[in-house]
């Protein structure tokens, strides 16, 4: 009883995670410019990664594999935003897309 509940939970997490990963991949293709794509891509990997890893953790039960998975998740959560930030900063410093951005926001307001 308990086992089936856990495995259903894990399936739910995995499916949501895969759905999110698809969603953001589509966002990556659909969004109009670099910064907006950035929101779709690197950033959202964090929750999708979290869901999938948690789903795997539930499958593994409590073991060393769990700990390893959690370490992977931790590293991803530390490095991924840092890399995104470095990327955004580099793009900004290169002056990429600044003008388009202002136009876009002024046309909206």
């Amino acid at each position: 009883m308990w086992d089936t509940l856990i495995s259903y939970c894990s399936y739910a997490l995995l499916l949501t995670g895969s759905f999110l990963s698809l969603t953001f991949a589509i966002g990556l293709l659909r969004f109009p410019d670099f910064y907006t794509r950035m929101h779709a891509a690197g950033v959202s990997d964090t929750l999708c990664a979290g869901l999938i890893v948690l789903g795997l953790v539930l499958q593994a039960g409590i073991s060393l594999v769990t700990l390893k998975l959690l370490f992977i998740l931790l590293f991803l959560w530390f490095t991924s935003p840092t890399a995104s930030f470095a990327l955004a900063r580099a793009a900004h410093r290169a002056g990429y897309g600044v003008n388009e951005q202002q136009e876009a926001s002024s046309s909206n307001s």
Partner: protein
Amino acid sequence: MILAVTAIALLVAMALTLARALLGPSIFDRILAVNTFGTKIVLFLGVYGFLTQRPDFLDIALVYALINFISTLAVLRFFESGQLVMPKDKE
């Protein structure tokens, strides 16, 4: 079964990311795509490890989680300065 679905979803997402990397248009889009691709590979390796019952793959996933970050930084650094090490600081 669900694991296979997850793996396939990740593969499709990876293919879409690859499309972005090939389309560009700017260099940053490509770097972004490669970086995201790395994260997806980490997840895929994890799922695949479970699918084949071989937790060895988690080690490879860890390598990616650690190394991908370094290469992204190196690439950015190269792009910002044209050289891995700047002769002089801009700021």
